[in-house]
Amino acid sequence: MEIKKRLLVVDDEENIRELLKLEFTDLDYEVIVMESAFNALNYLKDHQIDLVILDIKMPGMDGIEALEKIISTQRGMPVVIHSAYSHYKENYLTWSAAAYVVKSGELEELINTVETLIREQG
């Protein structure tokens, strides 16, 4: 039996966490959700994860700071920024992310991006 790929969804909005968990579970991923960047970083210390979906505007540590920390500790970890704001794209600190997807009711773009990145990992 193939081991499921493990996704970590970091978003302070419960509904988004729930939606993405449902969608990606349907697509046969194992989905772990975290409501804060701080918890996510802790989790990453001793758990194996294949890809992170990361919100930017969150209370406490925001996604940009979290991204920097993830990249520095988990070299090669694909992180997909998933934000309602498109203008952070202009911020070079987000450029180290593997992809930047603007939140939408249509999840096709996010799903396609994630699948592509997972496939590239092999």
């Binding site: 509904n15 939606l19 939140k103």
Partner: protein, 586 residues
């Protein structure tokens, strides 16, 4: 002996010419009776010499003043070494008219008797003009202080009228006609400005009679002249306006007198009487004797006063000349002061206007800052909305994917999914997010969109009790515009129409094919748009609504322009507005 004789001759010369030296003089004895006086003085006050000789001096003072008895006593008390110079006082003419005089006195002694030599000048016109100018000055002063924007040009006109009336109809000067010419600084010309005088001898006689029976003050005279159309519309006025001479034309006698700054009597004795320029003026005014008095203000030549007795044909005497030259000084001062003040007043108005403009600009800047803040807020809001919208859309699609078309909730869920999609596109437009990888069809079904919008607004239309007249042609071809763009246009225009109607009205929507286009017509019977609103309605953040963003019509116009459509607005206040737009068919 020879010396004494000579002295006597000299004294004789002076005594014989006393009338020319002093003109208006009288000798008063210790009993305050007028014992002797000059013809011109008696004439000035309306008496004959015989009438007044040995009459008490108080006869000349205004009647009924208890102080009259002490007038001369006080005068003597106030004198220095027996003389007083240029004291202002008031006399009363025989006909009862009061005149202002400036008098000088000298106490004389002869055979132990004390006499008083009193000479005077009639300064009624000077005084009256000065009073009028003071009044006008006060008016302008008040206007300046009250921040009124009334035209002060009237004040100058009033003073010009007063000057001309004083010369012709006053108590002392009494010329038949007077003409005023002023230097125009801008064009460097001498311009005929205004004139006064009766048109004919008959008219003159008529006026003379009327004034003799009921003497008038200066202000009354001005009104009288206006009522008789003597001031502005008459022939002499038209005559003087024909004069316009460049200041460089020095050979012209008018310019010559102006620049020479000395008065000039023009008659047969004048050396240049037959030169062309004099002849021309004589012909123009049909006058062979007239006096020219230059107006000099602080050394500058500012104009000319020309006066004559052409109507009655009486000669111009030294008395006339002396009176007019003295009066001209006051008139010049009055006119130039008024001009200065009015100029000042105008400058002040310009400053005030500039101030108002600055204030308006400031308000505009503040307004723009507010609008910029509003714009930021709109952007912020759009972002805030996007998150929750993605949740609604996400879950709706999850359920929708699992439903089959025949199931109950298939249709409502499809509506939610479609509308969320449209709204996301609207958000992207507002936020100018072109990066979104959403594939749009470059055409859409207009009927479907109208229904979609009407579905969203159904509740509101119902609440406001608005009747809808929906007129859509069947089998309409698709139009060349992306769905969310057309949604945005229709949604905005219908919402505007509903808000214009407010309560109980008719909303008409029609969609028709016209050749290779589809015409959309959205019509309301609301209050209509004013011209100002029509001009501004496509400016960003202009709104007539309490809670509008002022962006709706801007977006509509932008989309229509960008997508190759056309927009036409007609509106009548009180009847309503019609927005018509078209897009080409595929």
């Amino acid at each position: 002996m020879r010396g004494v004789t000579k002295q006597m001759i000299y004294q004789e010369i002076i005594f014989k010419n006393l009338d020319n030296i002093l003109q208006f003089w009288m000798l008063i004895d210790a009993q305050e009776q007028i014992v002797h006086w000059s013809k011109s003085a008696a004439h000035q006050l309306g008496y004959s010499t015989e009438e007044i000789t040995n009459q008490p001096f108080t006869t000349l003072l205004p009647k009924g003043n208890a102080e009259n008895l002490f007038f001369l006593k006080r005068l003597k008390e106030g004198s220095h070494s027996g003389s007083i110079v240029n004291q202002k006082a008031r006399f009363q003419q025989k006909n009862g008219v009061l005149i202002d005089v400036e008098l000088s006195t000298q106490i004389l002694h002869q055979d132990h008797q004390e006499y008083l030599l009193l000479s005077f000048d009639n300064i009624t016109e000077v005084e009256e003009l000065q009073k009028l100018v003071n009044l006008k000055m006060k008016e302008i002063h008040q206007q300046v202080h009250a921040y009124q924007s009334k035209d002060c040009g009237d004040a100058i006109q009033d003073v010009l009228d007063a000057v001309l009336v004083s010369i012709t109809a006053g108590q002392g000067l009494r010329f038949n006609r007077a003409f005023l010419l002023l230097v125009d600084e801008k064009s460097q010309t001498l311009e005929g400005i205004q004139a006064i005088g009766p048109e004919s001898r008959e008219k003159a006689w008529e006026i003379y009679q009327e004034l003799r029976d009921a003497p008038k003050t200066l202000t009354e005279m001005i009104h009288y002249c206006h009522s008789q159309q003597i001031v502005h519309d008459n022939k002499v006025n038209q005559l003087v306006k024909k004069i316009s001479l460049p200041l460089t034309e020095r050979e012209h006698f008018l310019i010559h007198v102006l620049q020479d700054q000395k008065y000039q009597l023009i008659n047969h004795e004048f050396s240049l009487f037959n030169t062309p320029s004099v002849r021309k003026i004589r012909e123009l005014f049909q006058s062979d004797e007239f006096i020219l008095v230059p107006m000099v203000w602080h050394g500058y030549s500012t104009g000319l006063i020309l006066a004559d007795n052409q109507i009655m044909g009486t000669p111009i005497t030294n008395l006339h000349i002396q009176g007019l030259t003295r009066f001209t000084d006051t008139a010049t001062n009055a006119i130039e002061s008024m001009k200065l003040l009015v100029g000042l007043e105008n400058s002040l108005h310009q400053v005030k206007r500039a101030n108002i403009e600055i204030r308006e600009n400031q308000t505009q800047i503040v307004q723009q800052e507010k609008l910029a803040a509003k714009g930021q807020l709109v952007t912020q809001m759009a972002h805030e909305v996007r998150g929750p919208l993605s949740i609604i859309g996400g879950f709706a699609r999850r359920i929708f994917k699992q439903l089959k078309p025949e199931e109950n909730f298939f249709d409502p869920l499809k509506r939610i999914v479609d509308t969320v999609h449209t709204l996301e596109c609207v958000l992207n437009d507002i936020l100018d997010d072109k990066q979104q990888k959403v594939i749009h069809q470059p055409y859409c079904d207009s009927v479907k969109l109208i229904h979609q919008v009407m579905g969203l607004l159904e509740e509101e239309i119902h609440q406001r009790e608005i009747s809808v007249n929906l007129n859509m042609q069947g089998d309409l071809p698709k139009v060349k515009i992306q769905e969310h763009h057309l949604f945005e246009i229709i949604n905005n225009l219908i919402k505007n129409a509903i808000e214009a109607i407010d309560q109980k009205g008719l909303l008409s929507i029609s969609v028709k094919r016209r050749e290779q286009n589809v015409d959309f017509l959205i019509q309301d019977d609301g209050p209509g748009l004013t011209v100002t609103t029509m001009e501004k309605m496509f400016s960003p953040f202009f709104t007539t609504k309490e809670e509008g963003t002022g962006l709706g019509l801007v977006v509509v116009k932008k989309i229509i322009d960008e997508q190759g459509g056309s927009l036409d607005v007609t509106s009548f206040v009180g009847k309503g507005s019609t927005f018509k737009f078209s897009f080409p068919t595929i």
